[in-house]
């Protein structure tokens, strides 16, 4: 009986969990994908690769989260290169970064996310 109650409570709690600003603040440069998944309250809605055409198709991995803040949901990306977190934020933060490489990553992540 207790097992059923614990399972039901766990399922309810898990379904209520959301990726929020507190989760975003836990992320640090160089973290592996597994570490990020362990740290955050809710995993990404999708994970997908992007390849940078200007770098001979170099592959990067993108985790796309739904960041919930006071009822509003927004896309939030974490990007890994060789399993190390290189940058994370709202897509607009990638797009306005002074380094064009990050602008390109943001543009590719937004366009590729639609395919997954």
């Amino acid at each position: 009986m207790w097992r059923i109650v614990i399972t039901v409570v766990s399922v309810v709690l898990f379904s209520c969990a959301a990726f929020d600003l507190a989760d975003a603040n836990k992320l640090q440069k160089g973290m592996s994908a597994a570490t990020v998944l362990d740290l955050v309250s809710k995993g990404p809605s999708k994970t997908f690769p992007i390849s940078l055409p200007n770098e001979g198709g170099r592959k990067l991995e993108v985790m796309a989260f739904n960041l919930k803040n006071a009822g509003v949901e927004a896309d939030y990306y974490a990007v890994f290169e060789n399993d190390k977190l290189i940058y994370w934020g709202y897509p607009y933060e990638f797009n306005r970064y002074p380094d064009v490489r990050y602008n390109e990553i943001g543009r590719l992540a937004v366009s590729e996310a639609k395919n997954y």
Binding site: A70, G71, A74, Y90, P91, N95, Y97, R107
Partner: protein, 145 residues
């Protein structure tokens, strides 16, 4: 017949009015569709609203145009129930939900009519772009005027 026609016209006008108003704020996801170098026309089209509120500042001989937008950062819902007497001693309960939006001031900076920077006012001075970080005090001061 005349009343029905009048009612239809009023409904149609109300629909057109509400549609033309838009939501009155921009969102994070809309900001994510902007790119450096975009023209003001592209920006306004993506954000789906014009900003009547703008200012110009000069830095190192370059004129920058700053436009301000309300950014939706969240909302809170409050619900209350009213009851009115119904037929045969029954009670009709109606639930009313009011949604209050939290807005922050977003800023869009153009350099020579091309998008240079966009984000929340509070992010300006910690921008990774030294040009923007240098302009930040002027932009903050300009919006206070």
């Amino acid at each position: 017949m005349c009343t029905r026609l009048m009612f239809s016209l009023v409904t149609l006008m109300a629909c057109l009015f509400l549609q033309s108003c838009g939501v009155g704020f921009i969102t994070y996801n809309q900001m994510g569709q902007l790119h450096k170098g975009d023209s003001p026309e592209v920006v306004e089209s993506v954000l789906d609203m014009d900003s009547p509120d703008y200012t110009r500042i000069t830095g190192n001989g370059i004129v920058y145009t700053i436009r301000y937008y309300p950014l939706n950062t969240g909302y809170a819902e409050t619900t209350h129930t009213t009851s009115t007497p119904g037929a045969f001693g029954t009670e009709i309960r109606t639930k009313h939900t009011k949604r209050e939006f939290f807005l922050n001031r977003a800023v869009v900076v153009y350099k020579n009519d091309r998008l240079l920077y966009w984000g929340m006012m509070g992010e300006l001075s910690k921008s990774e772009d030294p040009e923007v970080a240098e302009l930040a005090p002027q932009i903050v001061a300009a919006q206070a005027r």
